[in-house]
């Protein structure tokens, strides 16, 4: 893995598999009564969250703490950021505190890239979601979940068919997943109304469809993206009802999947809009599992980025 994790494209196939393997190893350790590893003792990991995202923040916090890192969480609300402090000054402050890794969530696409390449800080930068750009650890946890169900928790995802549905235009999850799942050999189909697909999407390494019913049959997994109701006011689609009818996942549609096909959602869900409660809580749903896997994958990312190359073997019974 390179110095930072800014984009799913930073990961080669070998590196991606290595992260997933490390995560699997760490998951086994987490089954023990004492979940904590001494690996990152004395290292400081900063959670720098310019956007509210409770689930991603606590997932990273849990990951860093289980590796015994000192964790500082810096949320935009109630901090100097809300008083107009710039990204640069916040970064310089963190640098002065000696952050070894900065996990950043920011509303501006490319903000983690700026942190990593502007010379403001020395530490490792992990992108925890930037604007409408990428969310590489979400893609890793999705790949981990897919691998667990579709490839016996080993290797890659060659030949597996994954359908990603919804607001691709504004989705960092979709961008990172298309890149990573392709790297791992999966065939990805994006399904959305044409208004919610970015210009140039036809050049992405995936197929495109406007028709969910045509894309689902035989697929190994479907990943539903959150659709914000305010998109309706910007004329991306006429109404919530029409969106649900054309692009929502209900039981009939989820039964079009392959027999062991799974249903995923990065959360938070709009039950009744992009997914029915029946499907979200149904037997194909692995949505809660995704959350658990998120901690292990993020542990693996920190573990590998912070250069703890030999401690895992020692710690593993």
């Amino acid at each position: 893995m390179s110095q930072h994790l800014l984009s799913a494209a930073d990961l080669s196939r070998e590196e991606a598999i290595a992260v997933l393997d490390t995560a699997a190893e760490l998951a086994r350790i987490s089954d023990r009564a004492v979940k904590k590893l001494p690996t990152l003792r004395g290292r400081t990991v900063v959670n720098l969250f310019f956007e509210d995202s409770t689930r991603t923040r606590i997932s990273f916090e849990a990951a860093a703490k289980r590796l015994s890192a000192d964790v500082i969480t810096f949320s935009a609300k109630g901090s100097s950021v809300s008083k107009g402090e710039s990204l640069k000054d916040t970064a310089l402050t963190l640098e002065a505190m000696g952050a070894d890794a900065v996990i950043v969530r920011h509303g501006a696409s490319g903000a983690p890239h700026r942190l990593a390449h502007s010379g403001w800080i020395e530490g490792v930068v992990v992108n925890a979601g930037d604007g409408t750009h990428e969310h590489p650890t979400q893609a890793l946890l999705d790949a981990y979940t897919l691998r667990h169900h579709l490839s016996a928790g080993k290797g890659a995802l060659d030949g597996r068919r994954v359908v990603i549905v919804g607001d691709v235009l504004h989705s960092r999850v979709a961008r990172s997943n298309v890149l990573l799942l392709r790297t791992l050999g999966a065939e990805v189909t994006l399904v959305a109304p044409p208004t919610l697909l970015p210009v140039g999407v036809e050049s992405w390494p995936c197929s495109i469809s406007y028709d969910l019913d045509a894309a689902l049959p035989g697929a190994d997994a479907v990943m539903m993206l959150r659709v914000q109701a305010e998109r309706m006011n910007a004329a991306y689609f006429p109404s919530v009802n029409e969106y649900s009818r054309r692009y929502g996942l209900d039981v009939r549609r989820s039964d079009l999947l392959a027999d062991d096909g799974i249903v995923m959602h990065p959360g938070p869900m709009n039950r009744g809009m992009e997914i029915t409660a029946e499907v979200a809580d149904g037997p194909r749903s692995v949505i809660v599992e995704q959350v658990t896997n998120g901690v292990h994958v993020r542990m693996a990312v920190l573990y590998r980025l912070l250069g703890a190359t030999d401690a895992l073997e020692e710690a593993t019974p």
Binding site: L87, K88, A108, G110, R114, G131, T132, H133, P198, W204
Partner: protein, 429 residues
């Protein structure tokens, strides 16, 4: 008091000596034959002499943002870039939408003295796009405003645009349109393309520029007015202006140096130094604007020199200000993109950097031929010398050049404004 500039090639042609007195050229003799009685002798070293450059589009930031640029520092940068006149854009604080503000800018330009400062007046009060500013008062003021622009903002209301085009006919004015449909570019960050989708930056479609240009050339034709298109940036815009000129519409257009040379790929760095309005476009657009400039569809190179305080660029892309410096790097960009490729000869460079912009702005004593009786408003350039862009050596108060640390070929050696040197051997006088 006479001065002789020895051994120069007007428009890159035969070597001559040029003598002037009281600001006007008094003699042009074959090289080495000018009388030796002049008070001052400048050695032109066989370099090229052109009429002083005229910039149609300069942000001097004064009044209001003197931390980014002042009329003094901006015009010093202009002189170093070979410019003898600049058009100061109206988006200052307060906005240049009254005779009082344009006269103040004009007077401050005279005080600074590095080049002529011709204020541009706002089309609408406060650039708000709601009602016309007192265009006639600005035209009749000491500043003699002829170009009106809400630059930075598009005059998007078609009725207001029509009225503005009609109204300025009374004093031979022109509306310089910043062509950007506001609804199609809400929150836009970069050229809309395959790359914007990958980078997750809100796209700025070419059609947002082209649709306004198409509308405005039709409006100008309908009401019999002239219209000028600011910083045209797409292949489609070139095609529309070409079509309009063929139909006889009185339209002129400018392109910036950065749109002649840089492409959207620089957005991959997420460094706001490359964030500009209109955005850097694709390679095919760059090729099209070069072709348009070469064939005369595009009349002028205009810098859109846009200084910004350091903190407004030292941030994430979305928070960064739009704009980049241009005055001191315009000439080498034209050399690299137009002269080296054969797109323009030196007559062509004089035409696009001096003569046509002066005519568009109705500046009577700028962009004149190099001939006896004409103003000694000249620039001596060395097309072959190379230099590295270094903000520390720039006269601008800001440092937001997209050419940081880039080696440029082509430099300005002397700039002369009505007989008075403003730059000598590459240094401000």
């Amino acid at each position: 008091m006479t001065t002789v500039l020895r051994n120069v090639r007007p428009y890159g042609e035969d070597l001559v000596d040029i003598t002037w007195a009281q600001g006007a050229i008094t003699a042009i003799d074959p090289a080495g034959t000018a009388p030796t009685t002049s008070d001052t002798v400048i050695d032109g070293r066989g370099l090229i002499v052109l009429p002083g450059f005229v910039d149609l589009h300069t942000h001097l930031r004064e009044p209001g943002r003197e931390d980014a640029e002042t009329i003094a520092t901006g015009t010093a940068a202009a002189a170093l870039g070979g410019f003898t006149a600049v058009h100061a854009m109206a988006n200052t604080t307060p906005v240049a939408d009254t005779a009082g503000v344009v006269e103040q800018v004009w007077r401050r330009g005279i005080e600074a003295g590095y080049c002529d400062v011709q204020p541009v007046g706002a089309v609408t009060v406060g650039l708000a796009g709601e009602r016309l500013a007192e265009l006639g008062a600005m035209a009749d003021s000491a500043a003699r405003v002829r170009i009106f622009s809400d630059d930075g903002v598009c005059v998007s209301d078609p009725v207001l645009m029509r009225r503005a085009l009609e109204y300025v006919k009374a004093f031979d004015g022109v509306i310089a349109q910043h062509a950007q449909d506001p609804r199609l570019t809400e929150g836009a960050q970069m050229n809309e393309s395959e790359l914007s989708g990958i980078l997750g930056l809100r796209g700025w479609p070419a059609v947002a520029e082209e649709a306004i240009i198409a509308r405005d050339v039709l409006l100008a034709q309908h009401v019999g007015s002239r219209v000028h298109i600011c910083h045209l940036s797409t292949a489609g815009s070139v095609a529309i202006v070409r079509w309009a000129k063929e139909r006889g519409v009185d339209v002129t257009a400018e392109v910036t140096p950065h749109h002649l040379i840089l492409t959207e790929d620089l957005a991959r760095t997420y460094d706001p130094r490359f964030k500009v309005n209109p955005p850097l476009r694709a390679a095919a657009d760059v090729a099209a604007v070069r072709e348009g400039l070469a064939d005369g569809t595009i009349d002028a190179v205009a810098t859109d020199h846009a200084p910004h305080a350091r903190e407004d660029k030292d941030c994430e892309w979305a928070a960064g200000a739009f704009g980049m410096l241009g005055l001191e790097t315009a000439f080498p960009v034209v050399v690299e993109t137009m002269v080296a490729s054969g797109g323009l000869d030196w007559r062509g460079v004089a035409n696009r950097l001096s003569e046509r912009p002066a005519r568009i702005g109705r500046l009577d004593d700028q962009g004149r031929p190099i001939a006896v009786g004409e103003p000694a408003t000249l620039v001596v350039v060395d097309p072959d010398s190379t230099w590295e862009v270094d903000p520390a050596r720039s006269a601008s108060r800001s440092a937001n050049t997209p050419f940081l640390a880039r080696t440029m070929r082509g430099s300005v050696v002397h700039t002369v404004l009505r007989g008075r040197p403003t730059v000598s051997e590459g240094t401000l006088v």
